[in-house]
Symmetry: C2
Subunit: 372 residues, 2 copies
């Protein structure tokens, strides 16, 4: 089915909403844990449900390479393959393939690249991405885009954006050529250039999309640039459809983006940080590898109600990390995802109560290192 | 408290029993999953309980090196450290330190060795092992033994066994010098030599032990040698105390050992095999890395009721293994531990029903490779 979106409440540009798919309802603003290879690393589907995740993200490029769309299709799609009953959004593979800097060649047709798995030649086209995402049977698919790098000249950003717009048309044609498993979202590109962003949006709106994403951010630009792009772009976006800011971000960045009208997020930060021993606490992160925690009998966060904080000490988590024990990755992932999903619940509650601005003003903005 | 043992039923040499500790009752014959570093690799305590584990094993030498007995003691012992409410048996570190072939030097006092963690000099004595195990506060501690290698001459085996007996006396004195957290089991040594085994047992029985273990097996000797040792030794062991065969083994070896009067087992095979993609099925093992499973939509074992077999295909498990996903280790460990614990339930049921010999006769004896 086509995803349906309702706005339930507003606070400035921010919205409380509800996104309905064939695999359940997503309360927005929502954060999507990333499940690259058909698994949110270290988690079972039941654990994700217990944490309150209503939608997860799957990576088309990774699944196309391993195990291949055909194997997933034998299971009726990604839901059956990975035993996840709730909603799934799949990316297009665009961002992933553009991350393979040295391994790719872009043409109008698509992208040729060497598989990072085995070095074999592979290619990704709008039609190919749609075919894979249809086979994955995600509830929300993404159009293939050419992800403009940062920094880029305006000419480079324009060329890349215009290619993305042509690919969006091809993606739409292929995805909707026959009964689709879900709905296709378009991706606005244009780098940090206002005119290009607005031109991209205008081009996309010539077709029908059940949702729109903002791509090409969280690729190294300063935080202020990103917020400026949101402030210049979002007010022009349709109000009746969900807005998805791809690849963002740290907790305070989610807060600031929600204030600017974003409804959906995905990011590897909570899960990847967890496996590296970086654990979110109010106002920052603790690095469990620090020797200060060797004898620390406190939970990660005494105010946290997650399974990990209810039952385990920092000393134990430090020990598990030091011994590279799988349980360490599990417990840390549970905590960090709980932290993110709890933040989204708090954002939704403040939107429902009309107190978002006060919540956001009080939310701590720690200095972050992006190197994990 | 001192563990208490009751025999509820017999079938030849085999017994159905009940071992009671301060952390619950263990129905015997029982298998103890191995939790080397204060975690049964990849599992939460709740998952182990769900699988029916009533007792697990912790490795004293490993925990002494990381995080150190003092850190565990700050948590009130290993139960609090790892959030496990049921019974724990700790080994003495003897077998582990003797596995460090090139790194150790044995004297009457104990063993000097280089820490495999950081190369620092460390030593393990009977008194030191008892102090660590008391700090770990396990329900069952093990006396420090000198583990006779295989093969060994009778003279070597005798020297090693006699040292173990002197260490057992020292272990007993230290463990019971003040109120102990649990009970101390002795370990019969003597290699594959009948006279030495019986002399070892006789020496140990001069002291009171709530249970007796058989050490120095599962170290490379042929299966027939091991069964012969059991047949020569077990009939002389006290009937009112549990008998623990250390480090054994494959499923059919558990069946054969139960028939010969063994009540307790521990082994890394189910958990280690799982992480290597070797999954137990009736009559053998499937190696999930085999390309035959790429498109196999069956569960590991269509007759298995474990979580993994209820929800996931071989194709998915193969994919997770190929991508080195943590969830793969988790799902495989759940299945293999379920297989072992289900076998123990079946053995106890057949003992209760008086059908052990028929069960054992029908139990498959596949050819095994010990290389995993």
């Amino acid at each position: 089915m086509q995803p349906r979106f309702e706005v339930l409440a507003r606070s400035g540009a921010a919205r409380l909403g509800r996104l309905t798919t064939a695999h359940g309802t997503i309360e927005t603003p929502a954060f999507m844990p990333v499940g690259t290879y058909g698994t949110v690393k270290a988690m079972t589907p039941e654990e994700l449900e217990g944490l309150g995740a209503q939608i997860i993200l799957g990576n088309t490029l990774h699944l196309m390479l391993r195990p291949g769309a055909e194997v997933v299709a034998l299971h009726g799609g990604l839901h059956g393959f990975m035993h996840w009953q709730r909603a799934i959004l799949t990316d297009s593979g665009g961002f992933q393939v553009f991350s393979l800097e040295s391994l790719r060649k872009i043409t109008e047709e698509g992208v040729r690249f060497r598989s990072p798995i085995d070095g074999s030649e592979a290619h990704l086209t709008p039609e190919g991405s749609m075919d894979v995402q249809r086979a994955l049977a995600s509830d929300i698919a993404m159009a293939l885009d050419d992800c403009t790098p940062y920094p880029a000249t305006e000419a480079e950003a324009r060329e890349s954006m215009e290619r993305s717009m042509r690919w969006a048309v091809r993606s739409h044609a292929r995805y909707y050529a026959s009964e689709p498993p879900g709905g296709l979202f378009a991706i606005v590109q244009g780098g940090v250039h206002r005119a290009l962003r607005l031109a991209s949006l205008e081009a996309l709106l010539k077709l029908e999309w059940p949702g729109l994403a903002i791509g090409g951010l969280a690729v190294g630009e300063p935080q202020e640039e990103r917020l400026r792009v949101l402030e210049e772009l979002v007010p022009h976006m349709p109000t009746d459809r969900p807005r998805y800011l791809m690849g963002v971000g740290f907790p305070e960045e989610l807060v600031e983006s929600v204030q600017r009208g974003i409804d959906l997020f995905d990011c590897v930060i909570p899960t990847r940080h967890a496996r590296n021993g970086h654990l979110f606490v109010p106002g920052g992160v603790i690095n469990i590898r620090n020797s200060a925690y060797t004898r620390d009998l406190q939970p990660i966060d005494p105010g946290c109600a997650c399974y990990t904080c209810r039952h385990y000490t920092r000393a134990y988590l430090k020990h598990l990390d030091r011994c590279k024990e799988i349980l360490g990755s599990r417990l840390s992932t549970i905590h960090n995802l709980h932290f993110y999903l709890e933040l989204m619940r708090a954002l939704r509650a403040s939107l429902a109560a009309g107190t978002l601005d006060a919540f956001a003003a009080a939310y701590p903005r720690p200095r972050r290192s992006r190197v994990a």
